[in-house]
């Protein structure tokens, strides 16, 4: 019964935050080329025909114009001028499909590989990865969610595998610092009083739950004092790297994601919402596109400079695409059949386009990639078997990527 959204937790005893049930250190499975994943999740549904799938009939593109990129044969829309110069780092997947056409269900499916049900909550991919890859010596959580939106549920897995949420990249983790009115000495004194109260209470009322609370306080203090917690503080980043980014919140989120993977965090989800343009798309889309254009371009540069792009799989995903027909309100409606996602790094076939839609934009045609296959591919690249199985509390087995299969041909 005790599942927990948003939050990872400390287990019952033993305390090395937050990884009590972690397997001992083990080598990654052979074949794994990625150590970390950054998933830029565009909730609302990115319009593929106004971004990265421009190889369709001209009328499908609406008002979008086409830009050449720095790769022969790859073109993007005019809203992505910065990324146009970095398409050699990106694989464009134009043949994505899902079976969900409404936002909550679509987001759920993309992030968990399962259709939403009311009898069980499935873990997000990040939680599966967190559980599979966390080792005892890790000092940071392996699933961090940055930005507004769905933080990252552990579903039926133990709550400790859910995402650590960072709502605002500039603010870091909520309440991780002492209250401003409380000095270090004061906190120490308070903790002494607390210890004495708890010790006394334990004599007559101690249970494994009271113990678990005492452990969690220790764990939280350890976390507050951990040297790695400064990974969450953007002001600690070198000027050279900070300069790569502009000051927009999404760019700052990307900067934080880059810092976290540098410290070894396995899965970072960066949320960038707002793509649901049913009307006035060409008034509203450019601003959001610009955020993605700049933030992602800076992130790719950041990872390249740090030598992390070889070991970091960056993916840009969304729950579904938009219809080829621009509606009378100058917007585009939901379109689950044939949309676009991106990948970069970790040996992906960068500078290529994978799959396509029909020229009229109505459906994915070649090399169709279902969202479950997409997730299976990410897991496989991290060295995790996409068929990895976990049981829900009722004993029902679930596989990491549902029935998805890794598309190994996306990598060279």
């Amino acid at each position: 019964m005790n599942r927990r959204e948003f939050i990872y937790s400390v287990g019952m005893s033993g305390m090395s935050i937050p990884f009590l049930n972690a397997a001992p250190s083990a080598a990654l499975a052979p074949g794994s080329k990625a150590k970390s994943v950054i998933n830029i999740f565009l909730s609302g549904g990115l319009s593929q025909y106004d971004s990265f799938n421009v190889e369709v009939d001209k009328d499908v593109l609406g008002k979008s114009a086409i830009l050449k990129s720095n790769v022969d044969g790859i073109r993007v829309s005019n809203y992505f001028p910065t990324l146009a110069k970095q398409m050699d780092k990106l694989l464009v997947i134009n043949s994505m499909t899902t079976n969900q056409g409404a936002h909550p269900a679509g987001i759920y499916k993309m992030l968990t590989s399962y259709n939403p049900r009311s009898s069980v909550t499935h873990p997000e991919l990040g939680a599966w990865i967190n559980k599979a890859l966390t080792r005892e010596q890790d000092s940071l959580p392996n699933f961090v969610s940055i930005g507004k939106g769905r933080a990252g549920t552990a579903g039926f897995l133990s709550g400790q595998w859910a995402a650590l949420p960072v709502r605002k990249p500039n603010a870091g983790i909520d309440f991780a610092n002492r209250h401003k009115a409380v000095s270090a000495e004061t906190l120490d004194q308070r903790l002494d009083i607390l210890a004495s109260l708890n010790k006394d209470f334990d004599k007559d009322h101690g249970t494994k739950d009271t113990q678990s609370y005492q452990d969690s306080y220790k764990g939280s203090l350890k976390f507050m004092n951990s040297k790695d917690i400064d990974a969450f503080e953007l002001k600690k980043e070198s000027e050279k790297i900070v300069k790569l980014y502009d000051g927009q919140e999404f760019s700052r989120s990307c900067l934080l994601a880059g810092r976290l993977v540098e410290r070894g965090v396995r899965y970072v989800k960066v949320n960038l919402g707002g793509w649901d343009y049913h009307d006035a798309l060409y008034d509203k889309f450019p601003q959001n596109a610009s955020r993605l254009d700049k933030g992602l371009a800076s992130l790719l540069e950041h990872l390249s400079q740090k030598g992390l792009l070889d070991s970091t799989l960056v993916v840009v995903s969304t729950e579904f695409g938009r219809k080829p027909l621009v509606n009378p309100n100058k917007g585009r409606d939901h379109h689950p059949d044939g949309f676009t996602c991106l990948m970069a790094g970790a040996g992906v076939k960068a500078g290529e386009i994978y799959g396509s839609t029909s020229k009229d934009g109505k459906k994915a045609e070649n090399n169709i990639l279902d969202v479950t296959d997409f997730n299976a591919t990410i897991a496989w690249r991290l060295g995790i078997d996409p068929n990895l199985e976990e049981k829900s509390p009722t004993g029902r087995p679930f596989k990491l990527a549902n029935r998805g299969k890794a598309r190994k041909t996306l990598f060279s």
Binding site: M1, D200, H205
Partner: protein, 611 residues
């Protein structure tokens, strides 16, 4: 058939009206436990003092600690029956409505889902109203299972139970878990691996609710005749107007349709030998006696229909509700008693609340049997049942700290356990204000959509078109209606002093409640009481400092301000936070700064646990 059933009910209600005082039932419970303890040679637990009782009862009955005034008042009361009086008072106070709403909302997954207007405004209000009026639990369950009609009609919020989960088979599995405490969802797709339920059983049960569905738009004929033309015009004219037109029509029309045909069909991939894919199944219950169903179409005729047809509606759903909530149903009362026992005592009387078997009787069958009998005799009156539990010696005895090696018998009283999330935050509230229950509603509260439904009753087709032109955009539509709805409601005072139950889907979420483990209401009974780092960071470094510890306006600080004597001030702090006087050994702590002591008490396990 109907007449004898009514007579049967009459006999029962006569029996019920002759019910003994709940305290007499409490003595019966005590007696059963005493016998068992004697048999096992286990000593009875010591009784608790007034301080412990007062704190425990406030927590369990109304979901918060007593304020300093309330505690002092109870301690000062010299009447011999003051405990029984407090029980009655609290169960009839506003605090009860708040606390038990949170509980049922977790069970019933009262939540705004978004998209298709699966909006529980009215659902939440229906649950609150049921708690306020102490609706008998069997009636409560019956109304939920048998709900239909308009979603936004004031008072018809029970439809939220279906709207919340319109997938028929999932909904059925959830209903069985909710009201019968059994987990049959596996049988939805295959024979249950460890229980007796087969997929065939599941589909026979599903026949009762077949063709029950949520539809948010007007019915097709209505749509074609009245709305289709304007819809098309608006769609080509303006997205914002079109969407207001769509949403406003939905608010008016969204309904739970269908009440069961009494037939289902096996799934297309049915693979067992006892049936064929798409074969028509007649309704049948999992166990117990089958209610009579008056079919309008014989099975062989239904079989000849198209594979998607299940025959005419005959309100077989009502038969299901009758069966599920019947006194004779071997699971309904047992599951209910088990659930309430677990809520109050923390132990499993019969078994896990969502994982009972037909055979489950619990570790002490005689106790289970007695409590089941009391539930029936009190006519599923939750307050009466709680009165029995609270008046029992068991409830008023020392809480057991459950260790790895528990005593032979653990049902003789509550166990030490962490408080529910909302109880922790509402307890913090009790240190901040003199009247922590001020925000608890005493009557139906309007939300925007329900308000619009109310307005729309006299709206013509043209009015809807005009309305959509007048106010563009879905978000603005909702905001405008919420604003008007707000004016119809009593102001609940500053949000910072609300109890957790006052938050609706329009109010955002209360961060502290979520951090403490409030149910996300995605699944049945999904609240949790585990610690985690964000929760502890909040308690150590978060709002307690500004809300309570250093807040001169906090009621506790107001109270102690005038007390010059330091030791007396400390006593007040101990009573306010922990509900007891400081122990002699704790007096050594008095030397510390007041703020530091408050912080430590608020962060202590004792504050977060019921003892």
């Amino acid at each position: 058939m109907k007449i004898p059933f009514i007579i049967f009910l009459l006999i029962l209600s006569v029996t019920a009206s002759a019910v003994a005082d709940p305290r007499a039932h409490a003595r019966e419970v005590d007696q059963i436990m005493a016998t068992e303890l004697k048999k096992l040679g286990q000593e009875a637990r010591p009784q608790i003092d007034d301080y412990t009782f007062c704190r425990r009862l406030y927590l369990d009955a109304i979901g918060r600690i007593p304020t300093l005034d309330e505690l002092d008042q109870f301690i000062a009361d010299k009447r011999a029956d003051k405990r029984a009086r407090l029980i009655d008072n609290l169960l009839n106070s506003k605090g009860y409505n708040s606390h038990w709403y949170n509980y049922w909302a977790d069970l019933l997954r009262v939540k705004y889902v978004g998209d298709k207007l699966q909006h529980p405004g009215n659902y939440a209000e229906w649950v609150k109203e049921s708690v306020r009026t102490n609706k008998p639990y069997n009636k409560f369950a019956h109304e939920l299972i048998n709900a239909n009609g308009k979603l936004y009609k004031p008072g018809n919020g029970a439809t939220g139970f279906y709207a919340r989960e319109p997938m028929a088979l999932d909904h059925l599995a959830n209903s069985v878990k909710t009201f019968l405490g059994m987990s049959i969802e596996c049988a939805q797709c295959h024979d249950h691996p460890f229980d007796d339920w087969t997929q065939l059983d599941f589909y026979k049960l599903a026949a009762f609710t077949s063709k029950t569905y949520l539809r948010v738009d007007p019915l097709p004929a209505d749509e074609k005749e009245k709305f289709a033309k304007d819809r098309k015009i608006l769609k080509n004219k303006s997205f914002d107007e079109w969407i207001v037109y769509r949403e406003s029509l939905r608010v008016k029309h969204a309904s739970i349709y269908g009440n069961g045909t009494g037939y289902s069909r096996l799934p297309h991939d049915y693979e067992y030998n006892d049936g064929e894919p798409h074969e028509v199944m007649e309704a049948d219950v999992l166990f117990g006696s089958m209610p009579v169903i008056h079919y309008k179409m014989p099975k062989d005729k239904v079989e000849k229909l198209n594979k998607k047809q299940f025959g005419p509606q005959i309100n077989s759903r009502k038969s299901l509700a009758n069966w599920m909530t019947s006194r004779e149903n071997p699971m309904f009362t047992k599951a209910t008693v088990n659930r309430l026992w677990y809520r109050i005592m923390g132990t499993e009387l019969v078994g896990p609340i969502g994982g009972l078997d037909l055979e489950s009787t619990g570790d002490h069958p005689a106790l289970t049997e007695k409590l089941v009998e009391i539930m029936k005799v009190t006519d599923y009156d939750i307050k009466a049942f709680l009165t029995v539990l609270f008046n029992s010696q068991a409830y008023q005895s020392k809480a057991l700290a459950l260790k790895a090696t528990p005593p032979a018998y653990v049902l003789d009283g509550p166990i030490v356990r962490r408080l529910p999330a909302e109880v922790i935050v509402d307890s913090i509230l009790s240190l901040r204000t003199k009247d922590p229950d001020a925000s608890v509603a005493t009557k139906f509260r309007w939300d925007g959509f329900t308000h619009f439904y109310d307005k729309s009753r006299n709206m013509t087709v043209k009015n809807f078109v005009d309305y959509s032109i007048a106010g563009p955009g879905r978000a603005k539509f909702q905001r405008r209606e919420e604003k008007e709805a707000k004016e119809r409601n009593r102001d609940l005072g500053p949000k910072s002093l609300w109890r957790a139950s006052a938050y609706t889907h329009n109010d955002g979420q209360y961060l502290a409640s979520i951090l403490m483990g409030q149910s996300t209401r995605d699944l049945i009974d999904s609240a949790n009481t585990q610690p985690d780092i964000p929760q502890i960071l909040y308690l150590m470094n978060g709002h307690l400092e500004g809300h309570v510890i250093r807040n001169p306006k906090a009621y506790l600080n107001q109270k102690i301000r005038h007390e010059k004597n330091r030791a007396k001030r400390m006593e007040m702090i101990w009573k306010a936070v922990l509900g007891r006087l400081p122990k002699p050994s704790e007096r050594a702590l008095f030397k510390h700064k007041q703020a530091d002591i408050m912080w430590a008490l608020l962060n202590s396990n004792e504050f977060k646990f019921v003892r």
